[in-house]
Amino acid sequence: MNGVGFAKGMWVTLRHFLETYVDDVRYGFRKYAPDLDNFETRQGVDAQGAFTVQYPDEKVAVPERFRFVPFLVVENYDHEERPGKDWCTSCGICAKVCPPQCIWIVRSNDPETGRPVPEPEAFFIDIDICMNCGFCAEFCPFDAIKMDHDYELASYDRTTNHIFDKDKLSKEFRYWNTIAPTRAVEEAEARGGWEHKDVQKEARRGGSTRDKKADAARAEKREAVRARKEAAAAPKAEAPAAEAAPAKEEPAAEAPWNDDEEQKRKRREAALRRKAARAAKRAEDGDS
């Protein structure tokens, strides 16, 4: 062949080399600048040449379905009725469906009756064992456990930090909305509203009968909540049923999910103001 194939091969190498620099020229030698929006092009099918992402200074964008060690969804800390409440009912499906069996759940029991209460007393995930398969999130009937996007979990001592407890696992529902907005909407549609499944069932049933004591407690709680609501939001008189419909503008995507008490208080007030405004708007819409 007298080196023709050899020359062809070298030409391919040269072309790759040049392509990388063609892009550099196109982006004015600023392709690593974080403020440029060329990242999307460079990570798409049209990209040419080598493109190195300078981890950890910059990171590849992870898609919504990306899965890493799971977290537990808790109600937003500024939620009107159940701030910080676990969505988990400790039904144990995630622990059963976990292939490497890295989930440990202690179910809470009512200290008086001994009956199980639908919330976990403790919840552990051994992140060394977790294989990031996503079954727990997939099969959870309450959308209470979700796969996280935070993959930077390395630490210096695996024996002390790698069993995550409930505190460390819990993240606000708002956080789930920020990392996977599309799926959050889909799930809310499947549940029939933004609220937890049980809350909606409760709302539909209008308070039921199984346990008189629990019923009384619930009624008491509802009463307290109603009183608090009335005190907080005067214009709220119309249609609380509309609450259940998934409203796409509801989650504030830019809001952080873990902050101090002061911030929480402010956000809570802002949420109440927004709610009042919505109610007013609904009233207005209803009139016109």
Binding site: G5, K8, Q43, V45, A95, V97, C98, F139, T182
Partner: protein, 627 residues
């Protein structure tokens, strides 16, 4: 495509039923139907096994022994039997489904005649059965442990063998819920921190066998006394170990070579350094738990592994569980994923083969660029780039997303937003064909590739079949056998593609097969795009809401054509009350493992530097080889 040259008289056709009838006529006393519920095939009495095997191969035409594995029936559950059983799946290379035959033996003194004289492909598989199940094969040329070391105590795949950190026979473990007070397994284990053994541990069972015993067993030896003269160059006979820690072995794989100067006179692969007893783990798991574990076999092509496993279990589910087969869209998406995986696998295989030839990492990194786009799509669809865990019994995890979408938040400082179908269409119609043409342009005519590849690592057509080689190794030796065509599954029958066959049987032929197969995969992918369009909106997840699928009693062998060759899963569901959700037996027919059987044959007579490239041309992944 090359004309197939199978002599007319060798072609035996006819249905499996005909073959079984003939077999029963020939051996009226020793062959009986396997009439256990959900089982198929025949049971052959052990003293006639070898004779029957020869008849099955020579007269009935089942020349390709795909799978041979053992099952331990402990006399529990629905099976009242108490014996070890060897299961063989033989196929015709002209196509068609399996002739399944079995032989049974006593558990205490397990001995069976070896079928290695009939099919050399049974070599490693019988060694594996000896290693893990403790069946002795009479007449096996080299019956040694293969995945574990000599001196290992017990046969771990036997049902009454318990591993370290043993907790319960079956998952889910009771300690996890409702009183799941966490502990770390290593703190409770009898082995503690690995160095402090309790007094009642018998350390003598951890005896080591010296290397020279191993060389002797392989029939190798060092000979520095006897000097061979090769045209004035004097050489000694030496033993050289390549690996387990050697970059050319693509992982922790070891080859013991007996060399005469630069020439390899004998080669034996040694493996098991990455052995984790995947199958034992699989039998503790529920059927569902196993899906993510299959990702970790051949971690380059996890989608294909998922596909093989769910197909095997779906065969069992079809025996009578409440189960709907996958929808058409689910099948289309499965094939889409599997064909993209095949392209990834072949790019990877060719790239690393070139590494072995000396083109250090330049080509691999070009191929990785293309692979990245495919993995981006996998990540957006399945949630992970490599450990996809995407397929479920009766469907897939989720439909492909509308958009490949990354949002801005505290973790993502970069965002992306592509239309998925547009991304796919552009990738399949433009980007990947362009890069495959580039591979072709870059390498096919390259002088070094041709000089090093042609005529090296030769495997003849007959040997390829006899040694149960699979995938590009088999097709590179002129055997037109591709599970997608020969025993079609999923929606392959309606797709238009060709089998890529080369007759030379050398490394270069295997390279050409891989290159051709990538083009054929693209042809398939192009046909899938319109199918994706018109099935849009159809459900893909109908059946995966149940987290514990109860699987009916029976056995199933599901196989797919994976990038590396035929990947099979042999699954037995014992279906007793205690373990209906757990497989009784879960076996992986790993192409990376069985394709190594002819490695010694291909390397003998070659140079040491060629051995590295020959191993690269077989294309193994140690996660699958060692399991």
């Amino acid at each position: 495509m090359v004309d197939m040259t199978i002599p007319e008289e060798q072609v035996v056709t006819g249905t499996i039923e005909d073959a079984i009838d003939k077999l029963k006529q020939r051996f009226p006393k020793d062959v009986s139907d396997d009439d256990r519920q959900g089982y198929s095939g025949v049971i052959i009495s052990s003293d006639k096994l070898q004779e029957a095997a020869r008849y099955i191969k020579d007269e009935l035409g089942f020349d390709y022994l795909s799978n041979a594995t053992a099952v331990d029936y402990l006399g529990e559950g629905v099976h009242s039997e108490d014996h070890l059983e060897m299961v063989y799946h033989a196929f015709r290379t002209t196509g068609g489904s399996a002739l399944v035959f079995k032989a049974q033996t006593d558990r205490t003194n397990a001995t069976l005649p070896s079928v290695t004289p009939v099919w050399r492909g049974a070599d490693f598989q019988e060694r594996e059965a000896y290693d893990l199940m403790g069946i002795k094969f009479e007449g096996h040329p080299n019956l040694q442990r293969i995945l574990l070391w000599e001196g290992f105590n017990g046969y771990p795949l036997r049902k009454d063998w318990k591993e370290a950190y043993y907790e319960e026979d079956h998952k889910p473990f009771g300690s996890r819920w409702p009183a799941g007070h966490v502990h770390r397994a290593e703190e409770k284990s009898v082995f503690g921190k690995n160095v402090n053994y309790p007094a009642d541990i018998d350390l003598s069972r951890l005896n080591d066998v010296s290397e020279s015993t191993m060389y002797k067993a392989f029939g190798m030896g060092v000979d520095t006394e006897h000097v061979v003269d090769h045209n004035g160059v004097q050489t000694d006979q030496l033993i050289v170990n390549m690996g387990p820690h050697h970059p050319s072995t693509h992982g922790v794989f070891r080859m013991i070579m007996e060399i005469d100067g630069e020439t390899v006179t004998k080669l034996e692969p040694v493996m098991g350094y990455l052995h984790r007893n995947h199958e034992k783990i699989g039998e503790r798991n529920t059927f569902l738990h196993n899906i993510p574990f299959t990702d970790r076999l051949d971690y380059i092509s996890s989608m294909g592994n998922n596909h093989g496993y769910v197909m095997a279990v779906e065969q069992l589910l079809a025996l009578g569980a409440k189960y709907n087969p996958p929808t058409y869209r689910a099948e289309v998406i499965r094939v889409l994923m599997v064909e993209l995986t095949r392209i990834v696998n072949h790019l990877w295989a060719i790239g690393f083969w070139l590494n072995d030839l000396g083109a250090f990492f330049t080509p691999v990194l070009y191929f990785v660029q293309e692979r990245e786009r495919i993995l981006d799509f996998f990540e957006a669809t399945a949630g992970s780039r490599m450990m996809c865990n995407y397929m479920r019994f009766g469907g897939v995890f989720a439909d492909i997303p509308e958009r490949i979408h990354s949002v801005s938040n505290l973790i993502n400082d970069r965002v992306r937003d592509f239309d998925t179908m547009k991304f796919l269409t552009e990738m399949i119609n433009e980007r990947i064909p362009r890069s495959i043409d580039e591979v072709d342009e870059y390498l096919t005519q390259n002088d070094i590739v041709q000089a090093r590849g042609m005529g090296v690592g030769y495997l003849s057509r007959e040997n390829a079949i006899d040694y149960s080689a699979a995938g590009p190794v088999l097709r590179g030796s002129g055997v037109a056998y591709d599970v997608r065509k020969s025993d079609p599954y999923s929606i392959y029958p309606e797709l238009d593609f060709d089998m890529v066959v080369e007759t030379e049987g050398d490394m270069y032929a295997r390279y050409l097969v891989r290159l051709g197969e990538m083009r054929e995969s693209l042809r398939i992918l192009k046909q899938l795009l319109p199918r994706l369009e018109y099935t849009h909106g159809e459900s893909v997840t109908e059946n995966n809401s149940a987290y514990s699928s109860k699987v009916p009693i029976g056995e199933a062998y599901g196989r797919v054509e994976n990038g590396k060759g035929e990947l099979g899963f042999y699954v037995v569901s014992a279906g007793d009350k205690r373990a209906a959700a757990n497989p009784w037996r879960y076996h992986v027919r790993a192409p990376s493992f069985i394709n190594l059987t002819p490695l010694g044959l291909m390397s003998t007579g070659g140079k040491v530097a060629d051995v590295v490239a020959i191993l690269g041309s077989i294309d193994i992944v140690l996660g699958e080889t060692d399991r």
